[in-house]
């Protein structure tokens, strides 16, 4: 043992070694921060990661509709002198009694047996706060006539802005109920063994309809229901121990007897309801939602022709009629109404969708808004009777008038600005920024998991192959050759297709697919690095001193491979994120999350179909931002790995 050896104990050597390592690490960090590119990359990466992790807090429901479809980013207002200061220049909601008082109920008249029967406000309706119910009465005395009864609600509001709103959005829940007078509706008391017989006779001929029989009684009773027709056929015979309802097909060619017998040992009190189910006679044909102008001077809602006249005569504008019809204020959007239950209906009236080929039709629209006009929002429904149907004949057998009730609730009217949020909205009106940070989370997750799997396979195979050598090396390298000669993208497509066929969750499938590929090059490079390290003197020394292979790999070879692994990690994450986006773009995996690739694909599809001239860039923000974020992520990782490489790689190391 030399003198120097005796001066420094083992502990001191280790301490000094640790100190050197620490200094070196500090130096590396310092020189990393001297490379601007790397710092920029790190900042971008941290910001995007934090945003994506915080996405559940920032955007609870990223796919919800928040604003007008295809709104531009809010900061673009700077370039638009006519823009509004607010996202919603007008936002009204109708869901309480007081709100509905301000609505105007409009009715027309037609050559119909239907007539308007006033309206009422239901204090607490099916939905929370009450709704507006409009009554329409079918006069049973009159025969059914072909014809419709238009009924609508309108709301007028003053538009103070000089500029037309970008879009006007309505949303309301509505419901149509039909109240038919029953044949029988009474409470009867039957002693044990007693029976009650109802005879149904019809005036109309040969109409088939469903008759509803509802019996309500206490559970301790035992009741028998027998329905027969006058030809003696037994149609229904049921013994009931609880309240029940039956829908029985009847034909008005026959007369029916309905017998209710108390089989129990106690007296029974029974609510009997017998009524025809003839809701299909009535039809609320179409709800037409109109945006219209109201001129207080004329006290009149413009028709299309009047609007044209106004523009041409008073404003002296040469307006092609087509503009007003297609792009003007009269945006009619049809909406089929169904009977029974609440339905949600919404409509968007676009005011500003100038066709490319014509010169700025906004000029014509602007003419209205300069004066601060009134705008009327009208929902109009045409009710009618199927006059010629067999069932319409059954009306004469009903005992009283039929009342149709059309209820409206939770109505929202929003005039919307063209600008919203940091990145605008997509074709569904969802915030693009929210969708992006939501999708980015998955992108990063997929990228990291797949790359870690790649690293695990690549590094372990490279280490084993390089360190053990011989037959093992030969086999592994042939396998690597095989993996490297498979075309990557087609292979990705094929694999994801197979996994899709196996009904695997798309997210899991894509992680598995990307994990299985992309490690081959890494294994090869790491093998050659291991070979170089293995030949170095210190490894030989360690081996000579009897260190186990595991120890040597851990202590002497892995530290030498580590920089390579880190560089591969960075680049692999980018490659995997882009591969995920590409596969989603191609639509093979049908991702069920907000994949950035899927967003680009949707946007490209829409702008390819909707844009003039085969896909212009009018909706550029929808295409641009998802890809831009992908580019930022890619740039961040590449810049960091590049800066890191510059520190670690002796060939590139700067002389400071």
């Amino acid at each position: 043992m030399s003198e120097r050896g005796s001066e420094l104990s083992i502990q001191e050597i280790i301490a000094r070694y640790k100190e050197v390592t620490k200094t070196r690490r500090r130096y590396a960090i310092k020189s990393f921060f001297r490379i601007k590119r790397g710092v920029l990359g790190l900042v971008i990466l941290i910001v995007l990661t934090v945003l994506s992790l915080a996405s559940p807090l920032i955007a609870k429901n990223p796919n919800a509709r928040v604003h007008a479809e295809l709104s531009k980013p809010a900061w673009m207002r700077v370039f638009d002198p006519n823009s509004f200061d607010d996202f919603y220049p007008l936002a009204l909601s109708f869901n309480s009694e007081a709100d509905f008082q301000s609505l105007l109920v409009l009715t027309g008249s037609g050559p119909s047996n239907l007539k308007y029967g006033g309206y009422s406000i239901i204090p607490s309706g099916y939905l929370d706060y009450g709704s507006l119910a409009i009554h329409i009465i079918d006069d049973i005395e009159k025969p059914a006539v072909i014809g419709q009864l238009p009924v609508g609600v309108a709301f007028f509001f003053k538009w103070d802005h000089k500029k037309a709103p970008y879009r006007v959005y309505f949303d309301f829940a509505h419901r149509v109920d039909i109240k038919i007078p029953p044949f029988v509706n009474e409470t009867i008391s039957l002693a044990p063994g007693e029976e009650k017989v109802y005879n149904l006779t019809f005036k109309s001929d040969n109409v088939v309809f469903n008759n509803l029989i509802v019996l309500s009684f206490e559970e301790k009773n035992l009741i028998q229901l027998v329905v027969k027709n006058d030809k003696g056929a037994l149609i229904c015979s049921e013994t009931l121990n609880q309240s029940s309802s039956f829908s029985i097909k009847m034909n008005t060619s026959y007369n029916y007897t309905i017998e209710i017998i108390n089989l129990g040992e106690q007296a029974a009190h029974i609510d009997v309801l017998i009524k025809a189910q003839i809701e299909s006679i009535y039809r609320a044909s179409q709800a037409v939602i109109m945006m219209n102008l109201y001129n207080p001077m004329l006290h009149n809602i413009y028709s299309i022709d009047e609007l044209l006249t106004y523009l041409q005569v008073e404003k002296k504008l040469n307006v092609p009629p087509q503009i007003v019809r297609d792009w003007g204020l009269m945006q009619h959007e049809g909406m089929t109404t169904r009977i029974g239950g609440w339905f949600s209906a919404s409509s968007r009236s676009s005011l500003q969708e100038p066709p490319r080929t014509l010169l700025a039709p906004e000029v014509y629209l602007q003419a209205f808004f300069e004066k601060g006009n009134w705008i009327a929002v009208v929902i109009e429904v045409d009710f009618s009777v199927f006059a010629f149907s067999d069932l319409a004949k059954l009306r004469q057998d009903l005992s009283g008038d039929v009342e149709i009730e059309w209820c409206i609730d939770n109505m929202v009217i929003q005039a919307q600005d063209q600008y919203y949020g940091l990145m605008g909205t997509d074709g569904e009106g969802a915030d693009i920024f929210a969708k992006i940070i939501d999708g980015l989370k998955i992108s990063l997750l997929v990228g990291f998991i797949a790359t870690f799997a790649n690293l695990l396979i690549g590094v372990s195979l490279g280490l084993v192959s390089g360190y053990i050598g011989g037959k093992v090396d030969e086999v592994i390298m042939r396998f690597v050759d095989f993996m490297m000669s498979i075309p990557i993208l087609p292979f990705l497509l094929v694999l994801s297709f197979v996994f899709f066929q196996m009904n695997l969750d798309p997210l899991l499938a894509i992680i598995i697919v990307l994990s299985l590929l992309g490690w081959a090059g890494m294994a090869r490079t790491i093998r050659s690095q291991v070979l170089a390290l293995k030949a170095s003197v210190y490894v030989e020394a360690a081996r000579a001193s009897g260190a186990s292979p595991f120890y040597i790999v851990r202590k002497h070879i892995l530290p030498g491979v580590w920089p390579l692994v880190l560089v591969y990690l960075m680049q692999g994450v980018v490659a995997n994120i882009l591969a995920e986006a590409g596969l989603s773009f191609l639509g093979v995996l049908k991702p069920n999350w907000n994949s950035l690739g899927k967003m680009i694909q949707e946007a490209a599809g829409v702008s390819a179909i909707g844009g003039g001239g085969g896909g212009g860039l009018r909706n550029w923000h929808w295409v641009f931002f998802p890809g831009f974020i992908l580019m930022l992520i890619g740039y961040a990782f590449y810049a960091i790995s590049d800066a890191y490489d510059e520190i670690v790689n002796p060939k590139r190391r700067r002389r400071f």
């Binding site: 000669s485 075309p487 087609p490 295409v623």
Partner: protein
């Protein structure tokens, strides 16, 4: 070991890889049936019925008919039947007897269909690849000769950007801008309207020029997306060579910069690039899935995609087999050419 032995060995390993790929190709498309335990013929008939092409009442008849027609063993068939099946498959694949498609292009023969698509893919990708290689190498030489210059810094930052751009995004944007907004290029595309125009104007020269005009936008986007890779490769390789002793010797001899760069350094630096060039030119035959989809060009990549989206198994198998075959061949040629060009390579 001489070059001849190396070539023979490389070809042999290539053949082994090809064989493995063939088996893999056979397994992977049958994997869904193996995993789910559903007979592949059953699977196929169900798909036909779901697509509304077959009457559900004829299910059993169809099942038996297809089994007899295709000589397909059921899932629980004895092993001998399966081996027979694999041997038939291998024989067909090696003799390029690919059969017919099941859905795409109405039961067309696969081989001529694939051949037509290859022509289109080559027409698109050969110019794109050659131009991007040329630009990449030229710029790479320029940057590698004086690293650290302003041009170098700008181009390298640009290259990092271009590297991290998703290609399809760039293509969608450029298509929207140049074909949709400014309308310098035809908006729909690629070669789709070629036949139509060819029918109107029968002049072959005009159709040819027209076809070139139409592919120029996809080619431009492809060049933009891929020249950076070549540039970085060339630059790195040239920088390595410029640090060698023989360059120093040449400089000491007083040779002028251009001679050193082009006669001494470039010749050595181009070697690693050659491998990539060979592989890229092979890629020309296999098509570009995403580019062909975006510009609706009927090439090989799009064929594979439509085969996959339409669940057309025979076409999937054939296209993937063809692509893999081309890649393996290109790998062999790249390795051999590298060995030929670089005397330092140890076999």
């Amino acid at each position: 070991m001489g070059l001849r032995e190396y070539t023979i060995r490389r070809v042999l390993t290539g053949l082994v890889t090809l064989f493995v790929i063939l088996i893999f190709n056979w397994v992977i498309f049958r994997l869904p049936s193996f995993v789910t335990g559903i007979d592949p013929v059953w699977f196929y008939v169900i798909q036909q019925i779901q697509a509304g092409q077959q009457d559900p009442r004829r299910f059993i008849t169809l099942l038996i008919r297809y089994k007899q027609q295709w000589k397909l063993p059921g899932l629980h068939a004895p092993l001998g039947l399966w081996i027979d099946h694999i041997i038939t498959y291998l024989k067909n694949m090696f003799t390029f007897n690919f059969g017919r498609t099941t859905k795409v292009e109405q039961n067309a023969l696969i081989a001529p269909l694939l051949a037509r698509r290859i022509v289109v893919s080559v027409f698109l990708l050969l110019p794109a690849t050659l131009i991007s290689i040329a630009i990449g190498i030229m710029l790479g030489v320029k940057l590698g000769a004086n690293p650290g210059s302003r041009l170098d810094v700008i181009m390298m930052s640009l290259a990092l950007m271009l590297y991290s751009i998703p290609t399809f995004w760039l293509q969608v944007l450029l298509k929207g801008l140049l074909a949709g907004e400014i309308q310098i290029w035809p908006s729909i595309g690629g070669l789709a309207s070629l036949a139509q125009i060819g029918a109107q104007a029968s002049d072959p020269l005009i159709s040819f020029i027209d076809a070139f005009y139409m592919i120029s936008l996809p080619v431009l986007t492809l060049v933009l997306a891929s020249f950076a890779g070549w540039m970085i490769l060339m630059r790195g390789s040239l920088m390595d060579v410029m640090g060698e002793d023989f360059i120093l010797t040449a400089k000491a001899k007083g040779l002028d910069e251009a001679t050193i760069l082009y006669k001494h350094a470039f010749r050595n630096a181009i070697l690693p690039v050659v491998t990539g060039v060979v592989l890229a030119i092979a890629g020309v035959w296999t098509g570009a899935v995403i580019t062909e989809t975006i510009f609706s060009i009927p090439g090989v990549g799009r064929l594979l995609l439509s085969a996959i989206l339409n669940l057309d198994y025979p076409l999937c198998e054939t296209t993937f087999y063809f692509i893999a075959l081309t890649t393996i061949f290109a790998n062999i040629i790249a390795d051999i050419s590298y060995a030929l060009l670089d005397p330092r390579v140890r076999y």
